[in-house]
């Protein structure tokens, strides 16, 4: 059975979307081994059932809390055919932070701008077409608790599920001698698609580290080398586990130390900070399409000169390592 995973921040209306998709056809259980609730249901689509799983609401996939660990590991499992990223339309910059991480998974993604009426009331006009181009997937405005936009969402899910179903796992045939950063990604991983460019300095170190990660075929295959390298630089809990269990840990750890040392010295901040800054830079650029309301409410000050310049640096343009970018390859 095809599976759809709903991912999003707490309070983004994920559960409303889930209820609207599955109606009464759902059950609540627990994730294996933990007391976090697992909500899953079925969505009849084109004459067959699609499983919909409502993941715990998280701000990040850093795997710090139980919720995040569950979300991250489920999203990496090959059972997921499409990820529906539910975003609070009136809080886009904040919500896009998680999106920057979801894009790294290289899975088919659909974006839901939930509570679109709320955003509209607050005078935020979101250019969904622009956003769809940026994120490389369909963007669907919804008001889930009133059922608005749900038919469009079902159609989008149907399109993606149909596109991914008939292929006999092409990634399996491609597993061979690992060669470079792109080899041996997880099954159903897309080769291309937009993602955050972390700037030349970080990108170069990610690439070097990814080459060392590729020594361990199992890790490379399960998580992808770039995803693993990025998380190793950040030092997330699951990356540490991954490293501890890898036969290539000496080589990987040596490169990680060199990379971290270089980046901290060169850019003046530690890796978690640098990565978060770049992700927020991209989130800001992504949310700035809503021109009129891009300034914080309640008289909070606008961006400082430095962040303002990175905002206008915008998308795709390859500029200095400090400014944020999106890349489509």
């Amino acid at each position: 059975m095809a599976a759809v995973a709903l991912a999003g921040n707490p309070n983004s209306g994920k559960t409303s979307v889930f209820n609207a998709l599955t109606g009464a056809r759902h059950h609540v259980g627990n994730w294996p081994g933990v007391t976090v609730e697992k909500r899953s249901g079925t969505l009849p689509l084109d004459g067959r059932d699609v499983e919909v799983v409502d993941l715990p609401g998280t701000y990040s996939l850093a795997a710090q809390s139980e919720d995040e660990r569950i979300a991250a590991s489920f999203l990496l499992s090959p059972d997921v055919d499409v990820i529906v990223n539910v975003l609070d339309a009136s809080n886009l910059e904040r919500n896009l932070y998680l999106t920057t991480q979801l894009l790294e998974l290289r899975r088919p993604l659909i974006f839901v701008l939930n509570m679109a009426d709320d955003a509209e009331r607050r005078g935020m006009a979101i250019d969904t077409e622009h956003l769809a181009g940026l994120l490389g997937g369909p963007v669907i405005p919804t008001v889930a608790n009133r059922g608005q936009g749900i038919e469009e969402l079902k159609r989008a899910i149907s399109t993606v599920v149909r596109a991914s179903a008939p292929q006999p796992q092409p990634a399996l045939a491609a597993v061979g001698p690992a060669s470079g950063a792109t080899a041996g990604d997880a099954p159903a991983v897309m080769a291309a698609g937009p993602r955050v460019r972390y700037g030349d300095d970080l990108e170069r170190e990610i690439e070097k580290l990814a080459r060392e990660v590729a020594r361990d075929e199992q890790v490379a295959e399960r998580h992808g080398t770039r995803w693993s390298a990025l998380r190793l630089l950040e030092g997330t809990a699951d990356a540490e586990e991954l490293l501890a269990g890898s036969h290539a840990r000496l080589a990987i750890d040596r490169q990680r130390r060199t990379s971290r040392e270089f980046l901290e010295h060169h850019l003046g901040a530690d890796c978690p900070t640098l990565v978060a800054e770049q992700r927020y830079g991209a989130s800001r650029a992504g949310s700035s399409g809503r021109s009129s309301a891009s300034r914080p409410p309640n008289g909070a000050p606008g961006p400082t000169a430095s962040t303002r310049s990175s905002r206008t640096a915008g998308w795709g343009s390859r500029s200095s390592s400090r400014s944020c970018c999106w890349s489509t390859s």
């Binding site: 701000y59 990040s60 850093a62 710090q64 809080n91 910059e93 904040r94 932070y97 950040e234 901040a269 978690p272 900070t273 978060a276 800054e277 927020y280 914080p296 409410p297 309640n298 008289g299 909070a300 000050p301 606008g302 961006p303 400082t304 430095s306 962040t307």
Partner: protein, 91 residues
């Protein structure tokens, strides 16, 4: 005796202070996160990155917790968290 223009006292450029010391209504720009480990990562994820502007919205008695506006949304911080965020107050 006239004081030459240059020697007249000028307002000092504000130096970094801890977010926990700011009064209600103050606006500031983040300079650095002093925490380490999980708290540091959590704060970064919540949007406390260098150069980001914020505003102190409300303070509970004794300043704990503190409600602020960052990136257009409201967030409450405990004192132990707000004390490890270094900011420059805007005038």
């Amino acid at each position: 005796v006239t004081v030459p223009e240059l020697e007249r006292p000028r307002p000092e450029p504000s130096s970094p202070t801890r977010l926990s010391t700011l009064p209600v209504g103050a606006t500031a720009v983040i300079v650095r996160i002093l925490a380490s480990g999980p708290i540091r990562r959590r704060l970064l994820e919540m949007g406390f990155v260098r150069g980001e502007a914020l505003k102190v919205q409300k303070l509970a008695p004794l300043g704990d917790p503190m409600e602020l506006v960052i990136k257009g949304y409201h967030l409450s911080l405990r004192r132990e968290e707000s004390a490890c965020i270094l900011v420059v107050k805007e005038t």
